[in-house]
């Protein structure tokens, strides 16, 4: 518990405002004699200070604090806790649930991000073909994105309902309980060929794929709007030139649209990676317990369970820090590998 008083002394908020008041009074006293650069310095800091104070209080110090308490043994509000160094991380490395959550999250990212970008590109290209009713189509594709995930997850849960769900009627699979089927889809697909896959290689469970489909439905509209804006910023001369060279529709998309759209796709890939890695709401609403055999447990959900169900703040913080490192590593990797293939227009 030693860490808390140390940290808490920083937080009577008036401590932020008291020096500010002092500076203001001084400034008011000698405003007339101040050179231009001092006035700029004064007002610059006055304007930045509230936002900076907020960032320091709620983002920057807490991040460091998370790192700090991850080094303690079972830090919570009850009882003593002591410094144990990297022990939480050591436990984490051997925690099967953590690896389960990580591989689930990996599959989630690997599915939703590319599918979201490809579908989004297809729809955006079609919408960009000077069609009628553009506004209507765009609205329909966009509405899921502004719909609250909680409500959307409730609707999809109803669609996936084993007895009365719409999907089972549509596919004529009565009684199939989508959200409680823990078998991996790759494993299921390869089973008829006599290949038995286990664990990670069996792929995401049917339940998790159902959640992924719902997620793609939810954020597709965002991708479409961004890609449409990207498409509209491609100068038409390129297409005219390609037409003169006798390029067909497909060739135009392949050799003009795709490369010139790559900065936008790259942006979406990064944003998608970071966002997908933190997936929580739809999983929590559709499978509150993390599914059968934890088949839909994600890293964010595991963190929530550890921190706020089991009140093990240290372990949850170690999880959070690890998550940050993984996202950071993946983003850097993505930058290194993908960005080479991005064509920035001169």
């Amino acid at each position: 518990m030693a860490a808390v008083p140390l940290f808490a002394t920083l937080f009577p908020t008036w401590l932020f405002w008291l020096p500010l008041a002092g500076v203001f009074i001084t400034y008011a006293g000698c405003r007339a004699h101040l050179p231009e650069s001092d006035a700029a310095a004064f007002w610059g800091w006055v304007f930045v200070w509230p936002a900076l104070a907020m960032m320091l209080t709620w983002n920057i110090f807490p991040s460091l604090f998370a790192l700090w308490i991850s080094l303690f043994d079972r830090f919570n509000f009850i009882g003593e806790s002591q410094y144990v160094g990297l022990q939480n991380y050591r436990i984490l490395m051997h925690d099967p649930l953590f690896w389960r959550a990580l591989s689930n999250t990996f599959w989630y990212v690997a599915f939703t991000v590319p599918v979201g970008i490809l579908l989004g590109t297809l729809v955006a290209i079609l919408l960009n073909e000077r069609i009628r009713l553009l506004g209507l189509y765009r609205t329909i594709y966009f509405l899921p994105y502004i719909t609250a995930l909680t409500a959307a997850a409730a609707v999809w849960q109803w669609i996936y309902h084993p007895e009365f769900g719409f999907l089972n009627w549509l596919l004529n699979t009565p009684g199939l309980d989508w959200l409680h089927t823990p078998d991996g889809v790759i494993g299921l697909a390869l089973k008829p060929f006599g290949i038995e896959l286990q664990g990670f290689w069996a792929g995401p469970s049917v339940a998790f794929v159902a959640i992924m489909i719902m997620s793609v439905w939810h954020f597709l509209g965002y991708n479409i709007v961004i890609l449409l804006a990207g498409l509209q910023s491609i100068p038409t001369q390129y297409y005219e030139a390609a037409e003169l060279d006798g390029a067909g529709w497909w060739q135009k998309q392949r050799y003009v649209t795709w490369p010139l759209l790559s900065p936008t796709t790259f942006f979406l890939a990064i944003i998608g990676l970071i966002g997908s890695f933190q997936v929580f709401t739809q999983v929590y609403v559709m499978t509150p317990t993390g599914g059968v055999l934890n088949d839909t447990l994600t890293v964010a959900m595991y963190l929530y369970n550890k921190g706020f169900r089991d009140s093990d703040f240290s372990y949850a913080s170690a999880l959070a820090v690890t998550m940050f490192l993984v996202i950071l590593a993946l983003t850097l990797f993505q930058r290194k590998v993908l960005e080479k293939r991005v064509t920035y227009e001169q």
Partner: protein, 407 residues
């Protein structure tokens, strides 16, 4: 000729793909709305019911008449001294006597609704008339009704379709959740039930208050900081800006636990402070508005400076009015984020009075059980404010998103 034919086909193909996609995208919304006006029996069918009884105008007319008899044409009700008459047609009404009852809520000690209601069943030429009369002093908002019809009576049809039909020995058991609904009371029955099943008005208040405060505070802080970054040269600017950029790297999950501990130490858990204060500064908002301020011509500010304007008045008199589109974009984003958030309010609130609409809905999903009509009604209510807002400010939504993507 063949090239124009090919053009036509390709156009058709484009529309076909787009429409197919749009159907898939829009279907969950349709399904939510359709289920929200279904009775439990309609919702729980193996084959989906595309048009529930409650959206058919023929039934609205009957519902309005029954509502007018019991109370009001729109919201129905059952006032003292009023009688409601429901016709049920049957092939052979003389074959047997129907029975009728006002169902009591399960485990109720006493039920004034059934005790003060007199039920009479009269035989008429083509069937029966069920007449309910309120002999008590109380006004009821709804009056449920169950009627048993002998199976020997053959085919039957009630003027207001029953919400459930079940077979019970020699009888058909017809159930109405409300025999005097009125037009809206009929159509929005599930909405009204859901609204009273949980304190949704409080949930909405908490959500709107939280989101509005976040927007107002966020706008103030972001405008000031963005202006400083864009238009004032002050020592340390680059360093602070770099610090802000660096915070974008931190995923929100890292902050959950330390911020929770901090709020606990401040005794702010389960208060509005916990919902609002941690979200007041937004790097996204600062970046967005900074771009706006950077795009304004420098001459404007030089001229103001020569005229003796201070930075304070430059910000609020010149830069602020010109950045209104950016402010709206940021405002919409901040509101949307606050209104749709689940994880953070779930963590920092405990009491039902402090639940936002998303947390309330999440709790309701657990409590509503198998009443999918009410659940979908509650979901519809939860997303309605944002959808309405979208139709009013469509352009800002779309442009705002597009702007967030182009750097």
């Amino acid at each position: 000729m063949s090239s124009s034919l090919r053009r036509l086909i390709s156009r058709l193909l484009i529309y076909l793909v787009l429409t197919a996609g749009a159907v898939v995208m829009a279907f969950p919304f349709y399904w939510m709305l359709a289920t929200s006006v279904k009775s439990p029996q309609e919702a729980q069918q193996a084959a989906p019911i595309w048009f529930p009884e409650r959206i058919k105008p023929v039934n609205w007319k009957v519902a309005a008449r029954l509502g007018a008899e019991g109370g009001s044409r729109w919201w129905g009700g059952f006032a003292p001294g009023r009688s409601v008459t429901l016709h049920i047609k049957a092939d052979d009404p003389s074959a047997g006597e129907p029975r009728s009852r006002i169902p009591k809520p399960p485990a109720a000690f006493s039920d004034p609704r059934s005790e003060s209601t007199k039920i009479e069943i009269e035989r008429v030429a083509d069937g029966w008339q069920v007449v309910l009369t309120n002999t008590g002093e109380q006004t009821f908002t709804t009056i449920p009704l169950t009627v048993w019809i002998p199976k020997e009576a053959g085919e039957f049809s009630a003027e207001l379709p029953p919400d459930a039909i079940r077979s019970q020995r020699g009888y058909w058991r017809l159930e109405w959740v409300n025999a005097s609904p009125g037009l809206f009371g009929y159509l929005f029955h599930n909405y009204r039930e859901a609204w009273h099943a949980a304190p949704f008005s409080r949930y909405f208040f908490v959500s709107f208050f939280t989101a509005s405060m976040q927007v107002l505070g966020g706008l103030l802080f972001a405008t000031m900081a963005a202006f400083a970054f864009a238009r004032i040269r002050f020592p340390g600017r680059e360093a602070v800006f770099l610090l802000f950029v660096a915070t974008m790297m931190i995923p929100g999950e890292v902050l959950l636990i330390p911020n929770y501990i901090l709020l606990a130490k401040l005794h702010w858990l389960d208060t509005f402070y916990a919902l609002i204060v941690p979200w007041l500064a937004s790097v996204f908002g600062i970046f967005l508005l900074r771009q706006f301020f950077l795009s304004l011509p420098q001459d404007l500010f030089d001229a103001a400076r020569i005229d003796g304007a201070s930075y304070w008045s430059m910000l609020w008199r010149i830069a602020f009015p010109l950045a209104v589109p950016g402010l709206i974009t940021y405002g919409i984003f901040a509101f949307l984020g606050a209104y749709n958030a689940l994880l953070w309010p779930l963590i920092v609130t405990q009491s039902p009075e402090m639940r936002t609409i998303q947390v309330g809905l999440q709790a309701f999903i657990g409590e509503a059980g198998s009443d999918y009509g009410q659940l979908m009604a509650a979901s519809t209510m939860a997303i309605l404010p944002i959808i309405i807002g979208y139709f009013f400010a469509q352009k800002h939504f779309i442009q705002g998103i597009a702007r967030s993507g182009i750097k």
